[in-house]
């Protein structure tokens, strides 16, 4: 039996070169009977953790883990794909082989100075540090993505490294061999490959001759680029993508044959019959490597512990000090108990420094007056609450610390903290400043091929025309799925049987999920006690002042390193701004935690579905759910944010819960047969949710309590739902779960529903603690909206872009809440929107700011506000005083902001066009005073209201003068078209016609229905079109800015009205007719899936992000 290990295996982390995943390389190598494998990608180690995790999976389960396939641009949009070999493998044999199999992780240095490539492996931990330092050095030299290394960098210190020189087509020079063998005595090999280029044996002999004087042994390798020869075509396509060539012109840049795959040891022995020792050397090298990624033990930073203190003692002191501040009337007994328990566990697991690190961040934010709040399972910790990291008060809520940290789960704790999105960068720079760039780094995000990008690149490489590729790539809806079904290809007017198209689709399918390059993660930080760059290479990010490490969050998870998530949340910015406005204008100073709780007016408002702009519950689905769920307490909001989710929906849990809540159905708890246990075994689990499982934790408890999962099995299930290291697929647990419950006498259908729900959680889980954190913010934002609507609208507008709604809807909503809204005016506005209080104690009015004017710059706005002492009286003088350019003046005039100068839009525009383009230089400022002479009155015709409204929309995306629809009302009435308000009042089942501006078009979930929201001067109507009718009205649906919908009213008993569409017309021309000057610019809300197709269907990006967090880290 030949001992062989492929020591120069590239994976697809050798971007656009390697054509197999690390998983496949490891698995194939193992199945071929190699001693082990050496993973060495080009100037990177970004793929090695995947290989490592695969080997761990194989050792534990005998099966490869599932692969994580990215589906969308936002975090968390991925799905799991079982390895295709899963069905055919003999788990037992694989497990045994995996135990003996050795994984070597290293890199392939590619030099910028013409030196042939050198594959390097660490002999030990120091060697790994050396590799990381070298790659960091190269990364920091190059621009983003490039690693610039020279031979001297390596030879400067090659201790603890094992090097394989991979000669290029020509023989290596004596000088090079001399230099290398001196730098790495006894640790240098010369890699030889039987390239099948017609002169293998002569080359082997020549290399042996060159190497002999330096006593450098030959090492047999196949320099593998892929696991199996079948990947050649994909590798060719990747070469074309890399070279920017089409397949027909790539020529000899492609490999001549399909031989660069992993070879059987016997085949290697045959090929190297002339030099059998070269094959043995590969195994010998492998044996000399004494490094595994397991050795990268994490150690927490020391900084947060003051000198003279033990970390644990300091944490305990801080905890009790803070607790006394949190509960000035005495710490409740319950909380004391919790704190004691938690501190004991923290001590046992030695996590004190971790908590102190997070506390330090939160303290920094508090000092800088940056709002922040922890999310996720940390909300289960009383320590986190008293330290100000999370906002769920353990004295009034049930918290379960075991969900956050437990002894059996040997994983470091995970705390994610949200900061105001506009100020998060300050926090990030604080971390860099405090820990240094060599010890703190942002995690990477692997940018992978998704259907669109895959087909686009493959199409280009195969020489398909842009139009054809665009047709396949541009398939609407469902293009985020993992596959490109033939039906879709046909739907795009292409023949799926056409060999070229079929080939492109097939190659794209295989390319999908391949990494394309690394980018930085939004905010996941890794902190180290020692040098981070000796643990993992660090590189420059595209963003200025950012550096990131080569591993992504899954890798960090797999290695058990510590990370802190510094996330951004727009709503925190909005709340901070609202608090500031309230303090400034309404004499009310608040913090996140002292907003009055259990406010009836706030809940009344929410029960009506009046939640535009409110955190988490502002989507159409949530607005419809609010009147049904009727939240009256914070816990109801926790349910509210969690229930409109794939988990509960897939598990059919929503309706049972609503029915029980409204009292239509009695609360019964599913119970086992009497002989199997007490009937009330689920009371504890499902008590808070009326016997219906809604949260991820409940599903987990069900598995343990009702299906009798062991802790290990439950843990496996939890991991199957959560991280990429999941062992086995979720369906492996399905039988166990359903049968387990059914055999104990539970209703089988209930068990199946529960498991469906778990699957739903699997993709988009939402645990209770998480929902609780968000419900808290939802409540705070609702309270502000309810009691301080002007400040709320103002803060929301100043935090744009965020949320679902466009400024027009936010302003309109504010007006409906009794806020006086005033237009942009040069004599009153600032850059931001502001509040104006006319008399002490009066309700504040909202003054729109210059930021609402499209294309206006902040510096102009600031200049106008600064220079304005009393007021501007005259246009020419205003430009001289402010020095803003003519363009700015024209924008102001077109936004109708000169009314206080007694000029309407038309007059102002006529006047400002005379102004010079650039403000006069200071030197000429005085002489310019008289430049423009008097002009006789222009007598311009009066501008019609319609034209004004249209112009308002064009310039500021909203109009305070009126709604475009009101101008058409008479015409519409003549056609018997109703207003939105009339439709919402109509009786159930009535057939009506309604017209309105299109705000949102969505096709959520399974795509059976298209939801559209129409707006007119009286309100909004939600219309629903069944997908089967969509093709008939496709053009109207897709094009309409003004839509006329005919359909039937469907009114639920909670008074939620939907218009079931039967016929749809597009009436854009009526809108264009309002002003023949220009098309009316109606802004679709950001939730519209057609205008913003990058958003995966059914989910708002922020929702998606929210969802992800819970998924990634539990």
């Amino acid at each position: 039996m030949t001992r062989f290990a492929e020591m120069a295996a590239a994976t697809n982390y050798s971007f656009l070169r390697g054509a197999s995943s690390p998983q496949d390389m490891v698995l194939t190598s193992l199945l071929l009977g190699h001693e082990g494998i050496g993973i060495a990608d080009r100037n990177t180690v970004s793929g090695v953790v995947r290989a490592y995790a695969t080997l761990c999976d194989l050792r534990e389960e005998g099966l490869p883990g599932q692969e994580k396939i990215r589906e969308g641009g936002s975090p968390g949009e991925y799905r799991w794909q079982a390895h295709p070999a899963e069905e055919v493998l003999d788990a037992g044999a694989v497990k045994a082989a995996a135990m003996k199999f050795k994984l070597a992780v290293g890199t392939r240095f590619v030099f910028a100075d013409g030196t042939p490539d050198i594959v390097a492996y660490p002999e030990n931990r120091q060697g790994w540090a050396r590799i990381c330092r070298l790659l960091t050095q190269g990364n920091l030299r190059g621009k983003k993505g490039a690693c610039i290394l020279r031979l001297g960098d390596l030879t400067a210190d090659a201790s603890h490294l094992l090097l394989i020189l991979m000669p290029s087509a020509s023989l290596p020079s004596r000088a090079l061999l001399a230099e290398l063998s001196e730098a790495a005595p006894g640790a240098l090999w010369l890699g030889v490959r039987m390239a099948r280029n017609g002169r293998d044996r002569r080359r082997l002999a020549a290399l042996a001759r060159v190497a002999a004087p330096f006593r450098v042994p030959l090492l047999a390798t196949n320099d593998a680029l892929y696991a199996e020869p079948g990947a050649r075509d994909l590798q060719d396509v990747m070469t074309c993508i890399r070279e920017g060539a089409t397949i027909t012109e790539a020529g000899r840049r492609l490999e001549a044959n399909a031989e660069r795959h992993l070879l059987k040891p016997s085949e290697m022995a045959r090929l190297f019959a002339d030099a059998p020792h070269a094959v043995d050397e590969s195994a010998d090298l492998l044996a000399r490597i004494d490094f595994s990624l397991e050795q990268l033990k994490y150690e927490y930073p020391d900084e947060p512990v003051p000198p003279g203190w033990e970390a644990q003692a300091w944490l305990e002191k801080l905890t009790w000090d803070c607790a006394r501040m949190r509960y000035p009337d005495g710490i409740p007994g319950k909380v004391v108990g919790l704190l004691e328990q938690e501190l004991a566990l923290i001590k046992e697991l030695q996590y004190a420094r971790y908590f102190l690190t997070i506390y330090d961040l939160v303290r920094f934010a508090a000092n800088e007056r940056i709002l922040c709040q922890g999310r996720g399972s940390a909300a289960n910790s009383a320590v986190c609450y008293v330290l100000g990291i999370t906002a769920i008060d353990p004295s009034t809520h049930e918290v379960l610390f075991a969900r956050f940290i437990s002894t059996e789960r040997k994983e470091p704790p995970d705390i994610d903290v949200d900061f105001e999105h506009e100020r998060r960068e300050e926090v990030i720079q604080h971390i860099y400043g405090k820990y240094g760039r060599h010890r703190a780094g942002i995690a990477a995000t692997v940018i992978s091929y998704r259907p669109r990008s895959a087909i686009r690149d493959v199409g280009k490489a195969l020489g398909l025309s842009d139009d054809v590729t665009a047709r396949i790539a541009g398939l609407q809806w469902g293009s985020w799925g993992g596959d490109i079904p033939s039906a879709q290809v046909a739907q795009a007017g292409l023949d799926p049987e056409n060999p070229m198209i079929a080939r492109a689709v097939e190659l794209a399918r295989r390319l999908m999920g391949f990494p394309r390059h690394l980018s930085q993660h939004v905010g996941g930080f890794v902190l180290a006690r020692g040098r981070l760059d000796e643990m993992v290479p660090i590189g420059n990010a595209a963003m200025d002042k950012r550096t990131f490490i080569e591993w992504n969050k899954d890798d960090i998870d797999a290695l058990g390193l510590m990370k802190v998530d510094v996330l951004a949340l727009g709503m925190l910015t909005c709340i901070r701004k609202a608090f500031d406005l309230m303090a400034q204008h309404e004499d009310r100073s608040l913090q996140l935690y002292d907003v009055p709780q259990d406010d009836t007016a706030t809940y009344d408002m929410l029960c009506k579905g009046d939640s535009i702009g409110v955190f988490q519950v502002e989507s159409r689905a949530q607005i419809n759910m609010l009147p049904r769920l009727k939240p009256r307490a914070l816990y109801d909001l926790v349910v509210q944010v969690a229930i409109v989710r794939p988990g509960p929906i897939q598990g059919n849990m929503v309706h049972p819960y609503l029915k029980r809540r409204s009292g239509e159905e009695s609360v019964v708890y599913p119970a086992p047969a009497p002989e199997h246990g007490p009937a009330d075994e689920l009371h504890q689990v499902l008590g808070k949710t009326m016997g219906v499982p809604l949260f991820q934790e409940q599903a987990m408890r069900l598995a343990i309590v009702a299906a009798k999962f062991t802790d290990a099995e439950a843990n496996g299930l939890r991991r199957a739902m959560a991280t990429f290291r999941n062992v086995g697929t979720i369906h492996r647990f399905e039988r166990k779960f359903v049968e387990g419950m059914a055999s104990r006498g539970y209703d089988r259908e209930f068990a199946e529903r529960c498991f469906e729900q778990i699957k739903g959680f699997g993709s988009y889980g939402f645990p209770e603690s998480h929902a609780a954190s968000f419900a808290q913010l939802a409540y705070v934002s609702s309270w502000i909206k309810c009691h301080h609507p002007a400040a709320f609208a103002c803060a929301l507008l100043n935090s744009q872009p965020m949320g679902f709604y466009a400024p027009a809807q936010i302003v309109r909503d504010a007006i409906e809440h009794g806020v006086l809204v005033r237009p942009v005016d040069v004599n009153a506005s600032c850059w931001d929107n502001t509040l104006e209080v006319d008399a002490p104690g009066a309700k504040p009015a909202l003054r729109l700011g210059f930021r609402q004017i499209d294309g206006f710059s902040e510096s102009w706005g600031a200049k106008i506000a600064e220079t304005r002492e009393v007021s501007y009286h005259e246009i020419e003088r205003m430009q001289r005083l402010t020095g803003i350019p003519g363009r700015a003046m024209r924008l102001l005039a077109d936004a109708d902001a000169f009314r206080s100068l007694q000029l309407d839009r038309r007059e102002a525009l006529w006047a400002v066009r005379r102004l010079p383009d650039d403000a006069a230089l200071p030197l000429f400022a005085s002489s310019a005073a008289q430049e423009l002479g008097e002009e006789e009155d222009a007598h311009l015709p009066t501008m019609a209201l319609g034209e004004h409204i249209v112009a308002d929309y064009q310039m500021t995306r909203l109009s305070l003068k009126g709604h475009p629809m009101q101008l058409l009302r008479a015409r519409l009435k003549a056609e018997r078209i109703l207003s939105c308000a009339e439709v919402n009042d109509a009786k159930d089942g009535t057939r009506v016609r309604v017209a309105g501006l299109v705000l949102v078009r969505q096709r959520p979930g399974n795509g059976n229905a298209i939801f559209m929201t129409l707006e007119d001067e009286s309100g909004v109507v939600n219309a629903l079109l069944w997908a089967r009718q969509f093709e008939q009205f496709r053009r109207a649906v897709m094009m309409a800015r003004l839509m006329v919908v005919t359909g039937r009213i469907q009114r639920s008993k909670e008074n939620v009205v939907h218009l079931m569409a039967e016929h749809i017309e597009e009436r854009n021309e009526a809108l264009d007719g309002l002003s023949d000057a220009h098309r009316t610019a109606i802004e679709l809300t950001r939730a519209d899936e057609f205008a913003h197709p990058q958003i995966p269907r059914g989910r708002h990006p922020r929702d998606a992000r929210v969802v992800v967090k819970s998924r990634d880290f539990h």
Binding site: D236, G251, L254, R914, M943
Partner: protein
């Protein structure tokens, strides 16, 4: 509809009337358009071909007037001053133009006005067919503001000020407008309303140099024509010499007394002012014409235009190499003139692993002999044979090393060759992207037989992975 790539997306560049009626407009991305109308037909726009077609149409318009100019990328301007008589007045001329173009497959909007700008604006934005003399201002006053083609910003500003038509503008005091809008807009307004005269820039490019000879009596004698052509060439050559240039393209124009014009062009591969050479090219060209030049009633004028030139300095003719090169280039030129450009071919190397495709023959005019051929590495035996069989010759191999070694002997043309030395394999996999071609991998061997002859043979199909029964071929012979 036609599409064009701009701002990172495939966008509509032009739409048909039906598409426009369905609400599609240029500028929309193709993906959006498809989302609305999935089955629309789109082709990539070819602006170069469009402008080529337009210029051919302009040449066609020579029949109405010699003064033809392009108007944007989709219009033609004809200066018909003094031409209308031949066509029965302005209406007749307009009609003839429209009908003629219709026969060619175009639908045309045509207006006739006092200035080019007025005519162009009316054709594009108005409906007036013919503007009576001096009536331009009135005729154009109803045109919309877009006719000014002043850009979006200015047009919007005019509209916001309450203007709708050009007439609204001309009523205003020019001073008030001038204070607010740029000079180009004002000029365009004056030109459209006929207040300012403009001239056309005619289309046919001016030749670099040109010699003309008019004859008092029509000439039809071939010998005389050749003598005149020679004289014209000599005069052009003098001109070129003064410029230090040589001609690359020459065009002779034969103007027949009855109005027919025949133009004949020749090209040289290198800049030249060698009268004899060019004359020879013309002679060869003429003798090879499928449709010979028919003097009819004789020619009353001849022109010679040099269309393209390149620097040509007095050469030192004693350098052997240069002379040989120019000899070859002359030969290529003469062969092309005689047989046509497609018939004279030249070998060029092709970048591919497939041996039989590594060489291609292409028209000689497309190459300048600058290609670099792959050279073998020093010290290496040649990788490719001197002679290659097309198609490869099947050979009979009784026994070969398993699984991918060379044969011990083989039979070719009934002769058995014993292999005494072999090197290989060189493995070349098929080009998988070519449909319907070779699908099996080849293992090439360089082998030498007992008599010292060297062959290039290959096994078609990898044993085990691709086939159970590989077949052998002889692909070439080394010296």
């Amino acid at each position: 509809m036609l599409t064009q790539k701009s701002a990172n997306a495939v966008r509509l560049a032009a739409v048909s009337r039906i598409a426009a009626s369905m609400g599609l407009a240029p500028g929309l991305t193709l993906a959006d358009a498809r989302a609305r109308i999935p089955n629309l037909i789109a082709a990539e726009a070819a602006p170069d071909s469009d402008s080529h077609m337009l210029s051919r149409l302009a040449t066609w318009c020579d029949r109405f007037t010699p003064l033809v100019a392009m108007d944007g990328h989709d219009g033609l301007l004809l200066d018909v001053t003094g031409c209308v008589g031949l066509f029965g007045g302005e209406a007749g001329l307009r009609n003839a133009t429209i009908m003629g173009m219709k026969r060619l497959g175009f639908s045309v909007k045509a207006s006739l006005a006092g200035t080019p700008d007025a005519a162009s604006a009316l054709a594009r934005f108005g409906s007036t067919a013919i503007v009576p003399e001096g009536d331009d201002a009135r005729a154009t006053s109803g045109l919309p503001l877009v006719a000014l083609m002043a850009g979006e910003e200015a047009t919007r500003a005019l509209r916001r000020a309450g203007f709708r038509t050009l007439g609204d503008l001309t009523k205003r005091s020019p001073a008030a407008l001038r204070a607010r809008f740029d000079a180009a807009l004002m000029r365009r307004l004056r030109r459209i309303s006929g207040e300012e005269e403009t001239r056309l820039t005619p289309l046919r490019p001016e030749p670099v140099c040109r010699a003309t000879r008019r004859f008092a009596e029509p000439l039809s004698d071939a010998g005389a024509l050749e003598a005149i052509l020679k004289a014209l060439l000599e005069s052009a050559a003098t001109d070129l010499e003064r410029r230090g240039e040589g001609g690359l393209g020459f065009e002779a124009g034969f103007f027949r007394a009855d109005g027919d014009v025949r133009r004949l062009a020749v090209e040289t591969g290198r800049p030249s002012r060698d009268t004899a050479l060019v004359l020879k090219l013309f002679a060869e060209r003429m003798s090879a014409l499928a449709d010979p030049i028919d003097p009819g009633f004789g020619f009353d004028a001849m022109t010679l235009s040099v269309l393209r030139t390149a620097p040509l300095n007095p050469a030192q003719s004693d350098l052997m190499r240069r002379q040989r090169e120019s000899g070859l280039a002359d030969l290529v030129d003469r062969l092309i003139a005689r047989f046509g450009p497609d018939r004279v071919q030249r070998f060029v190397p092709e970048d591919t692993h497939m041996p039989e495709r590594a060489v291609q023959s292409v028209p000689a005019v497309m190459t300048r002999g600058r290609e670099t051929w792959p050279s073998p590495e020093p010290g290496e035996p040649p990788a490719r044979p001197l002679h290659m069989f097309d198609p490869p010759q099947p050979i009979d191999v009784p026994v070969a090393q398993f699984p991918d070694g060379p044969p011990g002997r083989f039979r070719w043309r009934r002769v058995m060759h014993d292999v005494t030395a072999a090197e290989g394999p060189e493995r070349i996999a098929p080009e998988w992207w070519r449909v319907g071609e070779e699908t099996l991998t080849r293992d090439y061997f360089r082998v030498e037989d007992s008599t010292g002859r060297r062959f290039w043979i290959y096994r078609r199909g990898l044993y085990g992975r691709e086939t159970r029964e590989p077949v052998w071929y002889l692909h070439g012979l080394f010296a």
